[in-house]
Amino acid sequence: MSEYVIEMCDIVKEFPGIIANDHITLQLKKGEIHALLGENGAGKSTLMSVLFGMYQPEHGVIKKDGQEVKIKDPNDANRLGIGMVHQHFKLVHNFTVLENIILGVETVKGGLLKMDDARKRVVELSEQYGLSVDPDAIIEDITVGMQQRVEILKMLYRENEILIFDEPTAVLTPQEIEELMKIMKNLAKEGKSILFITHKLNEIKAAADRCTVLRKGKYIGTIDVAPASKEEMSEMMVGRKVSLQVEKSDAACGEKVLEVEGLSVHSKVGGKHLVKDVTFNVRRGEIVCVAGIDGNGQTELVQAITGLMKIDAGKVVLKGEDITNAHIRKRNTSGLGHIPEDRHKHGLVLDYPLAYNMVLQRYFEPQFCNHGFLKFDEIYRYSDALIEKFDVRSGQGSDTIVRSMSGGNQQKAIVAREIDRNPDLLIAVQPTRGLDVGAIEYIHKQLVKERDEGRGILLVSLELDEVMNLSDRILVMYEGEIVAELDPKTVTVQELGLYMAGSGKKEA
């Protein structure tokens, strides 16, 4: 009997134009939580897909308990006791929890489904691991965190011994993340072996026993987590020293680029105030950060300024010009840059090649367009230049369909496009959401650089670290109102947290 439940030895997996896994070895001990760390595009997901039978490796072997095994499809993986929680859950939205769990391994009696036994086992498992899942709830009615537990139950119901979690925390709230860590530790205690894909160092420190690091498809090393520092791990991951702190000088503020006066937005249903009488300004050369817990009107505020949503009252002035009712294109061409919150919905046309996405707001300009005909040579030349300058990585350069790119590189493409338009005001909404340390550092540096070049920056962020590190002024939003304006140099994280929770309002 081998020491390892699963060994992946010397795995090579190639895709057209890219070697996703270049001789990678991964060894998982029984009962451990093993983190797989790497930047976006490092090959973590590919490696796990190989283990789960979704891809066949060109080279290398997989061993289970020391025995070599062939995993040709997810069914093989299942038979070997390997289960996976995918990043995008594989749940049928209008089925019940129970139906989703038993799907594929149903018990039948006389041709009809036999749900009673299944229900009993699901309830038992749910209690045993402290998951508190209601078997009769419909998937679309329960929270994302709860859906994830259903995925975990799916694996437990199939008696899987090796559990793979693909970036499980990306979609969770901080409280849910804490719960998940607890659940994972519980599972490991019960003898399950866990593989945990992530690029978040905090979570590795909090939960993992060992950690294997990949970089650009290559195997870097496996370390014990306890003695390692976060800096060491991030250096392994990125390949150079990464400063988790943003370096910047004091702001040199100039004239006002954005003035917002008494801005209100009503909800379309119920007429509730989503944004209520908000007044503030952004000056050249400063980063103003709108902090707040998700859903306190930040999204609507930004959409009102950028023209994605109608304003019910108030005024938006850009560089002295009233743009309250201007078209979106007018706003864009008068110096507004927008890194949107939802990069898939408002940032990119996912099924277009990268080159077209790079000129989404500019294709009509004489540089790219001649009497209504697009100048493709010019578009591609421009796109190639941006890719080069901002180091956007993709399989086929300007021809890459954006959907196939990693999230980090999609975001980089948007940042490149927006910054290169030289906006006077750059609105960045959660610009680093879902990105790894390297990309976060890069985007933070770009934002500071833009600031130093005299642009006004309005940053909306949910991450307290980001707010404290980057901003020159903090506006706290709570229930659609700006409840405080703070100086990041004097305010503590705890105070900021209190304001965000709405309790600072009464004292002020």
Partner: protein, 315 residues
Amino acid sequence: MLYFIIQQMMYFSIPLLIVALGGLFSERSGVVNIALEGIMVIGAFSGIYFINQTQGALPGQPVLLLAILVAAAAGMLISLLHAYAAINMKADQVISGTAINIFAPAFVIFVARMLQGVQQIPFVNQFRINSVPVLGDIPVIGPLLFQNTYITTYIGVGILVISWLVLYKTRFGLRLRACGEHPQAADSVGINVYKMRYAGVLISGALAGIGGLVFVIPTSTNFNATVSGYGFLALAVLIFGQWKPWRIAGAALFFGFMKTLSAVYSGIPFLVGLGIPSNIYKMIPYVATLILLAFTGKTSCAPKAEGIPYDKGSR
């Protein structure tokens, strides 16, 4: 009079019900089946031609039952084309369905002329049951449901109950529905999405084929390469029924009633007395379809992955 209307209504409602249930199986598996009309034509042609050839040699009811099997087999055969295009070739499902709709009538006219010189295929209607033994004698219910009827009416009701059972109470149904909603999820738990979708389309073909035959028998004495848009009406019934068997049954009865109204209004003195041109009455079922779909389209709960070819590779 009421008895007569109800009996008439069954002639229209039952084929609609059967065909719409066929559509249900296909669409719940994730394949849009706009080819119902064409499949009905093929099914009706095969079934009627079978009756035309065997009539006289065999007694009435067994001929009908065999004809139903023939129609089902023919429907499955033609739906195989749709399945292959939609599932293996990942073609646009509306287009491959439309192709079948265009192909079917032309094909049956061609074959009918080859076989017997004219395109109409005559048959003798010896299938009507004047009164079901015992049940037909029950007061009220007897004349309502068990007189002047066809065995196909009860087959239709049987198909309804079985469809509901299969879809909601069996392993097959659970998997089929999963493929229509979230094929990636089904695939990840080891269900063969392609196989389930084939099953869905083939069942749909069988039912639509039966529906074609069932539609022609009580309403005509020959088959002339058309089912008068009933395949499309069945699609409307499917949508109005929100992809759920019992609601589809309700919708089929409703449309059947509308159709009956347009067919028998001349026998109802009150309606004749209104002096509305007969064309208006004939429009009723179709206008009702338009209006209902306009209103129910919004709250549609169509299967989520419907119409999207399943590709293992895409995320």
